[in-house]
Symmetry: C2
Subunit: 298 residues, 2 copies
């Protein structure tokens, strides 16, 4: 799994920070979280092919989180994409889809599916991972997302041999959840697999005031990516604009018992992020500040 920050600015971009977007390379695909203006160019810098992106999760419909979508979609069409693209977002995603279809002349040859998420909970549950969401607390409908790997239980090789399973393809079948017949007797996966194992988990807040729903969603995450538009000196601004301070983000990380907190979405009012990092680290030790093209291997 590799997380790469493609944009870490808030509403106004700077030389160093593009608008919000995070890529996740995992499970043989690329998943994007948010897609601010200029994301297609950031992907070029990051050597990530837009053609490998299969799903895009949008947290909310403020320009700094969505305005890269039309260009990315048009660019995929221009390059002759054929495989589907699935875009998920809160209430309003269909209106966005409609607007995107009317921005200039272009041809989309591939299946483009927009999915409106109206409830908290499971969004995707496939063989390899679960994606869940919770309502964030912003000034427009907004979601936070988590992705949790489904890690297979360990295969108890000795146990299988003991039960007479011949070394070979049956081992794979059992590990993949299929029963096999050995000497007329059924051997089920449960008989040769260890206890369930916890997979890797990543949570992304999007834009939000600190809230308990995100604490719950982020519980025991390996990484929590939480917005920190402001430092504590601007805590009133954070309230007024429905954002979080670094301290507030760190408190969420602490309550949710995550392993690492990565702060992002910084206001251009700060010439550096030293105070933001310091304040967060005082509350939650393992806090770091994201920058454009920062990569995290997990």
């Amino acid at each position: 799994m590799e997380i790469e920050f493609l944009g870490t600015a808030s509403a106004v971009p700077s030389k160093q920070r593009n608008h919000s977007s995070i890529s996740l390379k995992a499970f043989g695909e690329v998943i994007l979280f948010d897609c601010g203006e200029g994301t297609q160019k950031q992907l070029t810098y990051a050597h990530i092919s837009p053609m490998k992106i299969e799903k895009i999760f949008i947290t909310h419909f403020h320009g700094d989180h969505i305005l890269g979508l039309p260009g990315l979609i048009q660019s995929m069409g221009f390059r002759g994409r054929e495989k589907p693209l699935d875009v998920y977002g809160p209430k309003g995603v269909n209106a966005l889809f409609n607007a995107i279809q009317h921005i200039g002349y272009f041809v989309i040859n591939f299946p483009l599916n927009f999915h409106e998420i109206l409830e908290e909970g499971e969004v995707i549950d496939n063989e390899e991972y679960i994606i869940e969401c919770a309502f964030a607390d912003h000034n427009v409908p907004a979601l936070a997302y988590s992705i949790t790997e489904k890690k297979k239980p360990r295969f108890l090789r000795e146990k299988a041999i003991e039960l007479g399973v011949p070394i070979g393809p049956d081992f794979g079948k059992l590990h993949n959840g299929e029963s096999v017949i050995v000497d007329g007797q059924e051997i089920t996966p449960k008989m040769v697999l260890g206890p369930p194992r916890k997979g890797r988990k990543i949570t992304y807040s999007g834009d939000t005031r600190p809230n308990e729903r995100i604490v719950k969603l982020a519980e025991d995450s390996d990484i929590l990516i939480h917005e920190s538009t402001y430092d504590s000196s601007d805590c009133e601004k954070a309230k007024d604009h429905s954002h979080s301070t670094s301290k507030e983000a760190a408190n969420i990380a602490k309550k949710a018992n995550v392993k690492q907190l990565i702060l992002t979405h910084f206001s251009t009012r700060y010439t550096n992020t030293l105070t933001i990092e310091k304040e967060a680290s005082e509350v939650f030790k393992n806090s770091v500040v994201a920058y454009d093209f920062m990569k995290i291997e997990l």
Copy 2:
């Protein structure tokens, strides 16, 4: 007058080249020609305040020429802009305006006027300059634009003194086109001004096949900015996609008797622009290749 190239790529951006946009600082304002995705960030790099942009001229509605508009407009609103913004474009500009208004949540507090241009000829004629347009020859409705400075005739100081005009404010009035009364006799501007003078002229083709309408529009320009998506080895592709090669652009420059040709809008298929520049220079000597953030003082 200062021209700055904010983006010189064609449909797909590269590390070095952003999508199309050209800024013109002149007459106390900033005018943009096209506004591809990422233009607001390019403006940051170029130290040009979006708040100073008064007019945007769009050549046509392909993504690489327009997808920076929603972000730029939203960003102006976010920064509390009050003065109007005027956006000009060919048939379809009102549909674009409608789509832009429905891309996510945002507030526009300033007058935002979209102007649909349905005929060739004069678009703006004010005290300082004339902007004209001609139909380009692309695969969607497209316009080329020219801007011509209105240069005041020279003030014939000796003639004014000879006619008895007292040295002082009356000189300014006459130079600005007002008559004055000297010893009961009317002195008109015509009596103290030299012959009309040619102001500076810049023409921008947008995306187009080479055509005579642009030759006419560009006649005697100081600078012709012409697209050159391809070099001559790809002349069939240029025809197929309604673009121009470097040689074709240079031929337009020659026919239009311009002083300088600046080529832009390059396909990412070329690792460098040496062939493009060489081919153009063989046809029209004063040809140069634009790059992002190239500035031309005029």
